[in-house]
C-alpha cells in the first residue's frame, strides 16, 4: 500500500477494494502503515473512499523544497512571491476550515470573494505596528508579503466562462492568485469551476490530518483566520 501510494499518491476503494477493506477493518494494518509512513516523514490521510499520502513538515526527500516550488511556479517567482503564494493557500485553507472543524462547511470559494478576503487580510496586517516582530514570532514572512502585495496593481478579474484568457505571472494580484490556484490544481488540491475554487478530497484529507498533528504549525492559520475577525470587531465598535 505504501509503495502504491508513493507511486500514485493515493489508494482508492474502488481500485483496490481488498486492500482498502483490510485497512479499514484491521487496526494492525492501519498502525503498521502509519508506522512505516511516519518513519519516512510521510502522513497517511484517510478520507471517505480514499487514502492519501502526503509528505510531512520539512520532508525534503518526498516533499518539495522552496526551490522546487519556485521553479514550478515559474519565471518571476522569487521568495516574496512564493511566500505570498503560501499566504494565499493559508487563506484558502482558513476559509474552508473554520475553527479547526473536522470537515468544511463551505462548498466553494468564489474567486472574486477570494481576492476580496486576501486584500482584507493584508490590510489588517498593515494595522500591526511591529509586523517584523509578528513575522519573527510566527516564523512567517508577513512583512515581505505585505510589501509585495502593496506594490502590485489590482487587475480586475475576467470571467473565465466566455474568455479563456487568464492573467498569469507575478505582475498583478490577480495573476498571483491565478498562479496559486493553477499550482494547487496541478497537485490535486483544488479544482476550478464556475469561477469558484473547489477543494478536492486530497485537500480535505490533508487539512483534517493537519489539525491532528502536533508538529504541524496550525497556529499560523489561526492567526491568518483571525486577521479579518479583528477588523470586523473594530468595525463593530465604530
Amino acid at each position: 500500500m505504501l509503495y502504491q501510494m508513493l507511486s500514485t499518491g493515493s489508494i482508492e476503494r474502488f481500485v483496490y477494494p481488498k486492500h482498502f477493506m483490510r485497512y479499514e477493518q484491521e487496526s494492525e494494518i492501519r498502525e503498521a502503515l502509519d508506522f512505516c509512513a511516519e518513519k519516512l516523514g510521510l502522513y497517511v490521510c484517510g478520507r471517505g473512499d480514499s487514502i492519501f499520502l502526503s509528505a510531512g513538515v520539512g520532508n525534503r526527500v518526498f516533499g518539495y523544497t522552496n526551490e522546487d516550488v519556485k521553479n514550478e511556479l515559474g519565471r518571476g517567482f522569487k521568495n516574496p512571491e512564493m511566500y505570498t503564494v503560501f499566504f494565499i493557500m493559508n487563506v484558502i485553507v482558513s476559509e474552508f476550515y473554520k475553527e479547526s472543524f473536522h470537515d468544511t462547511l463551505r462548498i466553494n470559494l468564489p474567486k472574486n470573494y477570494l481576492i476580496g478576503i486576501i486584500e482584507a487580510k493584508i490590510r489588517a496586517l498593515s494595522d500591526f505596528e511591529d509586523l517584523d516582530k509578528i513575522s519573527e514570532e510566527y516564523k512567517f514572512n508577513f512583512r515581505e508579503i505585505k510589501d509585495l502585495w502593496d506594490s502590485l496593481p489590482n487587475v480586475e478579474f475576467r470571467d473565465d466562462s466566455d474568455i479563456e484568457i487568464k492573467q498569469k505571472g507575478t505582475s498583478s494580484k490577480t495573476a498571483i492568485i491565478n498562479e496559486t490556484v493553477i499550482f494547487m490544481k496541478k497537485h490535486r488540491l483544488v479544482d476550478e469551476h464556475n469561477n469558484a475554487v473547489y477543494p478536492t478530497e486530497r485537500f480535505k484529507a490533508i487539512v483534517s490530518e493537519a489539525y491532528n498533528r502536533s508538529d504541524v504549525q496550525t497556529d499560523i492559520i489561526e492567526f491568518i483566520d483571525d486577521l479579518t475577525c479583528l477588523e470586523e470587531e473594530k468595525n463593530a465598535e465604530t
Binding site: L2, S7, G9, E24, Q25, S27, C36, K39, L40, Y43, S54, A55, G56, V57, G58, N59, V61, F62, G63, Y64, D68, V69, N79, Y83, F86, M89, V93, L105, R106, I107, N108, L109, P110, Y113, D132, S135, E136, K139, F140, N141, R143, E144, D147, S161, F183, L189, H193, N194, A196, Y198, P199, T200, E201, F203, I206, V207, A210, V216, Q217, I220
Partner: protein
Amino acid sequence: MEYAKHFQDINERMRHLKCYYPFFRIYAYSYRNNLEYDLPYIALSVLTLLIEEGKLRGRSLKVDEIEVHIKNILNEMYMDYETNSKQVTRTLLTILETDRDGESYHFEYMDPIRRKKDGHYVHLIEYDVSNKAYQISDAGLDFMISIKELPEESKISVSLILFKKQIENGSFVTALNTVRELNLEVLRKKEKKQNLLEKMLYGGADVVEDYSIFSEGVFSQLQQEKILFEEVRTTLLELTKNHEEIINISNKSANEKDFLILKQISTELDRGYQLHSGLLKEYTDLPGEYEKICRIRVNSLFDRKWHFKEILENNIRQNYPNDVHVIGMHPMFLPKTTRSFSLYKIFESQIVSRKKSEVSETRQNDEWSEKKLIDGTVDERQRNNFRVYAHALLGCVEDHGGDLTLEVYLKTVEDTLGPEALQNMDLIPFLFSLNVDIDDVNAQASDNSQKLKNKELNVTRFEFNKLKLSCHSNRELILEALLSAHEALGLSSSTFIVTSFPDEIINIKKGFSAYISNMKFIMK
C-alpha cells in the same frame, strides 16, 4: 403538558424541515429580484433531472447536459421571449449548491431542551470535483422524495425507494451498486464500532451518548434492512422466475446480461444479509470485546517488543533474504523518488528576512559621530563672545545717552569684563563685523531697495524691528548677537548706527600692539 416531549417532537419536525430550507431561500431570491423566469420551478425540474438521469443511473451530469435541459424547459415555458439559458444555468446551479457566497445553507433553530441553537448545513446539489459534474446531494434527494406524495413509500428508507425505482427502470447495474453501497454502509458501521471501542478504551467525553447513538443506529439499520430484504427478495424472486418479465421491464434485447446482474444482486443481498448478521453479533459482543482488550492491553507493549525481536531472530535463523528486513525502508530504495507538493509546506517555519530601514536623507558630517569638529567649536565660541561684546556695547551706548565712542566702549569692556577681554581674538572680528555691509540683509527684511541706493559711506545702520522679521537661519553672527542683546536689555530704541573713521587709528589696549579704525555708536 409535558414540555420535554413536546419540544422533542418539535425538534424532530424542525430537523425534517432542514431539507426544505434551500428551496424556500431560492423562492425568496426569485421573488425579491423579480426574475423573468420562475427559478424555483426550474430548480425542481433540474433536481428531477439529476435524479432520473443521474442518481438512478449511477452517474453525475455535466454542466452542458444540464444547460440543454434548462434551455428546452425555458423554450417550452416561455415561448414568447428568449431567455439566456447559460445565465439561468449558472445562477441556478450556484443557488442550488450554495447560498451564493460559496457556503452551504445554514438552517438554524433554538433547541429548548439543550438550551442552545441547533444548526444544520444543507445543500441540494453537489459538484463532483473528480468527474467535473453535478449530482444531487442526500438532502436534495430527501427533499425531492418528501415533496412527492408516496404514503406507503415514505415510511421506508431512501435506499429502498431508489433500489425499487432502479429495478423498475431496468437499471440493474445501478441497482447492484445501490445494494453494494448498502453493504458498505454496514461496513462503515463496523468501523464506527471500532472507533467507539477505541474511545471506550481510552476514555472519551461523550462515550455514553456515542454508545447509545451507535446502538440506535444498529437497530435502525436492522429495521431498514429487514424491510429491504423482504421487498427486494420478493421482487427478485418474481423477476428471476419469469424470464420474459425481465425483457418487458428492461426493454432490452440483451436480457441474458440482465439476468446475470440480477443473480449478482441476489449474491450481494446474501452477502449483505451475512454482514448484517455480523453487525448484530458485533454489537452484542462489544462489551465483552472491550473487557478482553482491556485485559490484553496491560501487557501489549511488552509483548509487541518481544514479538518484533522474535520475528527478526526467526528471519535471521532461517536465512531469509534481506528484503524481509527492509520492507519498511523499501520506498527509500526506489530508483526514482516521486516528490510532490504537500500542503503541509505552507505550515512550515520560514526564515524571516528583515529589511534594513531605508535612509531617507543624507546625514550631516557631524551626525556620523558624536565627536565635535573644530569648525563647530570655533563657531560656538565666537557666537558666545559676540553676544557678550554686543551686550556690553548696547548697554554702554544706552548708559551714555545713545552716543558712544569706541574708546569709551573699550574702556568699559576692560572694566567690566577684564583686560583679557580686550586681548580676546574675537573682539577685533566683532568690531569688524559692525562695519560689514549688511544693508542687503536689511533690504531683504524691509523689501525696500531704496535703502541700497541711499547708502552712506562708512555708516552701518541696524534696524532692529526689521531685523527681527528676517529669517533666523540667514542672519549673520553679528546681527544675531545685537538682536539678542537688544532683547535682553529690553531697549526701546530701534535703530543702531555705527560710523567708522578709517583715518583715525586707535590702539585697542596699551602695551598690546593691536590697532583698529575709530568708530562711533549712536542709538536712537
